[in-house]
Every structure is written in C-alpha cells, then in structure tokens.
Symmetry: C2
Subunit: 155 residues, 2 copies
C-alpha cells in the first residue's frame, strides 16, 4: 500500500490547539502555510536559521519557497508568540511555553545546539527594576546565556 508524501510535518493536536488559541487572541489567521512552518520548527528540536527552514520546507513539500515567504511566516509566528528569535545565532525556535506571551530568555548550548528556555520570575522583575531605575521604558528584552548544557558539560 502506497502513501501520499507527507504534506507537512506532523503537528501534535495539543500544540495545534495552543496555536489556534494564540491566533484567536491576537485576531490573526492561522493559515496552512503558517502552520506548516510552525510544525517544521517543532519537528526540529533545536533553533534553525531561516534558510535552514526554507530547505526543510522545500524538501517536505517538494517545491521552491522564496525567502520572503518564510520570513513572513516567521514574523507572524513571533508576533503571536509561538516562536522566538535567538538573536546571537540568528535562528528561530518554537517557544516552550506558548500558552502566554513572554520575553525571549534562553540557555544556549554551544556544543549540542540545544536552546532551553529560562523560566524565572525574578529575572523578569530584575530587568524591569533595572530599566525603571534608569528612567527607561522597557518594551521587550532578550537574555541569552551561552555555554554548555548539563549533558555536554561532562563530555
């Protein structure tokens, strides 16, 4: 029995539901192409560059995709809070906790490439406090810690 080629990376129902919720909240449309890009990011278990994502999607869909197309989808996914951009490596990663929007804060392993999201209330508070002390109105923030994750440390 033959199977038609997979048209998109599998997207667990749970993740799909959250994606739909976030888009509804933001009054944004979750189109198949956007969902496809999100699913592909989820299928990679590490941050990927925009051009890597293009290659993955082209392989999956067996057709050419323009860079602009993927950049638009990434902009969208970031806008609704499903994806974060890793500034120090110019790559993109699905948010680990997309239920609610939040700042991009990561531990980045330089050996295995894994990006672990930081969940720290005190960190957010401290950043706000620092900005406030300087008379600065913070609108967004980025924290990226480079190093070796627990697994790679021992190698």
């Amino acid at each position: 029995m033959t199977r038609t080629p997979t048209a998109a990376a599998p997207l667990p129902a749970h993740q799909r539901k959250i994606a739909e919720q976030r888009c509804a909240e933001a009054s944004e449309r979750l189109t198949p192409a956007r969902l496809g890009a999100y699913a592909e990011l989820l299928a990679s278990n590490r941050p990927v560059s925009a051009y890597e994502l293009i290659a993955l999607l082209e392989r999956r869909q067996q057709k050419k995709i323009a860079p602009l197309t993927v950049y638009r989808h990434l902009d969208f996914l970031i806008r609704v809070g499903l994806v974060h951009r890793i500034e120090s490596t110019q790559s993109y990663v699905p948010c680990d906790h997309p239920e609610h929007s939040h700042e991009s804060q990561y531990l980045l392993c330089s050996s295995c490439g894994h990006a672990a999201e930081i969940e720290s209330g005190p960190l957010g508070s401290l950043l706000n406090e620092i900005a406030h002390q300087q008379g600065f109105r913070a609108e967004s923030s980025v924290v990226e810690i480079q190093g070796l994750c627990r697994s790679c440390k021992t190698d």
Copy 2:
C-alpha cells in the same frame, strides 16, 4: 595655513591608555588600524553596523576598506574587551567600562538609538544562579532591553 587631512578620529589619551592596558593584559597588539577602528567607534556616540564603520573609515582615510578588514578589527576589539556587539541590531559599540572585561548588557533606545550599558552586580549573579540551577556551565551572556530612554520617553 592648510592642514593635512585627519588620518584618524581623535582618540582621548585616557581611552588610548586603557586600550593599551587591555591589549597588554591580553598579549595582543594594538596596531594603528585597530586603534583607528576603535577611535571611529568612540567618535560615533551610538552603535554602528560593520558596514557603517567601513563607510566612516573610508571617508576619514580617503581609501577603500574591505569588509574583512573591519570585521577582523571588530573581532579583535571584542576579544580584548574594548567593544561589544549588540546582537539584536547587529551593531558594535565601544564598551563604557573597558577597564575590566564583562558581559554585554544594554538598555537600547529604539527612538534615539542610544545604548546605555547596564552595571548591575545582582543581574550577573542572578544569571549565574539560573544557569547553575539548570546544570548549565555559562561561558558568556547577553542582555538587551529594548525601549525608550528617559529623554525619548517624554517626546
């Protein structure tokens, strides 16, 4: 009385001395070209992109400069701790406190473009603590807070 064109941006003696100290500590050579790039960054009072820096240096020196040249000088200046790279805007800024090496932590004004370095012991401690809790060996870190500075907030 005519003057020869300025060959390099003026570099205050104080800054020059610190640059020499940092290079000595790092056993690195402070060449005229490296010093020229540093002086030009100091002369701009905001982060500049690598290609903006090329344009500034070309105008100053009245000659073509290859991108690689400037990237090498930037790598050097970052290596010895005189310059920081702003990851979220892909630009470069002289360190406000180059006396000692430290992580890159900035308040970035999206209106006037000013980059104000954050001096916060607690922030560094908290980042170390967070990494340590996760079994992560931190090697470097970046903090960038985007928003409006005190002056621009009121506009």
